[in-house]
């Protein structure tokens, strides 16, 4: 399969970015140095091109039902402009992906959002829309086609009335994150006010004159915004922010310090099959809604989980990495890591992974096997940083 390129690829190349393949996309991994980019986001602000994330639009009389059946959270809690984090699970409750679901103004046509929603960005009243409910959700890089198929198949199988359109290539998405992100957004916003948004709230606004869908969301643990704009206007939006450009390398270290899951790495239906309860995101599972995987998850909630998603801090020199075994310090395996790095903020080696429940208490002493050698570590219930 040919590698996909974000609309900003040439802009990043000219800026001297290094690229990496991720989810079938050629994305910038590093612009200057992961340490510098990471520090900018923790202390000031940074901007990320996250156009590799997918976009699927769903609208119609049964759009709410379709969204609710295929995501674990309660979509009926959303008003236009609200968003929520959710998991997409199999019948067995195993996570296929995680996603953010946005409710768009009623009457937005699926497939038209990038053109229509952003056309009149000036202080639009999101509640004034008339017509059927509409949603946009964001699957992870490379998952958009499978998500689209899943939605269409379920709709057709159950005779639901909703349009589903994969608009991944219509949209570009940039994330501006950090304690100064609100100021940066305020400066760049030409129409509409985004600094009044609460966490997980979204609105239409013009950023550098470009009609955009702006949400107070992110993946770094800092205050921040994600800006969805038409793909053709990506460079105008990107260039409107005079903050540190950041690549996927810093995005990864920032999310690891917060204990946020990376789809395909910390869970994966084939390589690392996990339920939301094992993965520590039981808060997105609403058992009082009807969704694919619900019954299996109800049973697991009653029975409890055998392994839990946890952090570890290495107490000796070394760097924990995904795939390393975790032992009780006496050669008995009690789990394994799925992610790890040297934390730039803490200057400590940290890891994330799954540990047997009886060894998962905060502060529990364990060992991580690094190239055949057990190194002392302690269990940390994430996040590693207070934010």
């Amino acid at each position: 399969m040919a590698e996909r390129s974000p609309p900003l690829h040439g802009v990043h190349e000219a800026r001297g970015a290094k690229f990496t393949g991720f989810g079938g996309w050629a994305m910038p991994v590093e612009f200057d140095s992961i340490k510098e980019e990471h520090a900018a986001v923790r202390e000031e602000a940074g901007i990320f091109d996250v156009s590799h994330m997918g976009e699927i639009e769903v609208a119609g009389p049964d759009a709410t039902t379709l969204m609710n059946r295929l995501t674990t959270n309660d979509v009926t809690a959303l008003d236009p402009g609200d968003s929520q984090y959710a998991a997409i699970t199999t019948e067995d409750g195993v996570m296929i992906d995680d996603t953010v679901v946005y409710r768009l103004p009623d009457g937005t046509a699926a497939g038209d959002a990038a053109a229509d929603l952003t056309a009149d960005a000036a202080g639009r009243d999101l509640d004034a829309g008339e017509g059927d409910p509409a949603y946009l959700f964001v699957p992870n890089a490379g998952h958009d086609e499978a998500a689209f198929d899943r939605w269409v198949d379920y709709r057709d199988e159950h005779g639901l009335d909703a349009d589903v359109v994969n608009t991944t290539t219509d949209w570009a998405m940039v994330a501006v994150q950090g304690p100064d992100a609100a100021d940066a957004l305020d400066d760049a916003t030409t129409t509409g006010r985004v600094v009044d948004l609460s966490r997980f709230e979204a609105t239409t606004a013009a950023v550098a004159g470009v009609g955009s869908w702006v949400a107070r969301t992110g993946y770094t643990g800092e205050d921040g915004f994600e800006v969805l704009c038409p793909a053709g206007d990506a460079e105008t939006v990107w260039s409107a922010f005079d903050v540190q450009p950041c690549g996927l390398g810093a995005r990864d270290t920032l999310r690891m310090e917060m204990g946020y899951l990376l789809s395909g790495q910390d869970f994966d239906p084939e390589e690392e099959p996990r339920t939301p309860y094992e993965a520590g995101i039981g808060f997105v599972v609403k058992l009082d809604t009807e969704f694919v995987g619900r019954d299996a998850l109800e049973v697991q909630k009653e029975d409890g989980v055998e392994e839990r998603f946890r952090g570890i801090r290495l107490l000796e020199r070394g760097v924990p990495r995904g795939g390393y075994a975790v032992t009780d310090g006496d050669l008995t395996r009690i789990g394994h890591l799925t992610s790890g790095t040297m934390s730039p903020t803490l200057a400590e080696p940290i890891g994330l992974g799954y540990l047997r429940t009886e060894h998962a208490a905060d502060g529990e002493r364990v060992s991580v096997v690094v190239r055949g050698e057990e190194k002392r570590a302690e269990v940390v219930v994430p996040p590693f940083l207070d934010r």
Binding site: E30, K35, R317, G318, V319, R321, P344
Partner: protein, 125 residues
């Protein structure tokens, strides 16, 4: 982007360098290698008295994003280790041919199989 490739050194295709001398040679990784790795956060090196073998691993260098084996350009006994790197691994980024050196080896074989600066510069161009 062009990388620093000092003329007086010899190189491996895997981006390690060595000085050329009869008694003890210094070994490290190239400017290109440190740039590819990004921020170096950890090095694992042999101890003084250990034997290293040309083209075989003698340690590990880790950046935030990657783990890489280190290959020795020469065979011989390790006579010194740069312990500064344990506390300040970033020296590998800051000064790969100077303060970022890794080990010193008393070589037992020659340097004929190694790339000269011109050949290595072509490789990383």
């Amino acid at each position: 982007m062009s990388f620093d490739v000092p003329d007086e050194l010899r190189y491996l295709e895997s981006h390690e360098w060595t000085t050329v001398a009869d008694d003890a040679v210094r070994v490290g990784i190239s400017d290109f290698a440190q740039d590819e790795l990004g921020d170096v956060v950890f090095v694992e090196l042999p101890e003084v008295g250990d034997e290293v073998v040309a083209d075989e691993t003698f340690g590990v260098v880790e950046s935030i994003k990657a783990v890489s084996d280190l290959y020795s350009p020469v065979s011989g006994e390790v006579v010194a280790v740069n312990e500064d790197l344990f506390d300040r691994p970033e020296l590998v980024n800051d000064d790969p041919y100077g303060d970022g050196w890794m080990i010193e080896v008393a070589p037992t074989d020659g340097f004929d199989d190694l790339l000269d600066a011109e050949a290595y510069a072509d490789q990383v161009a």
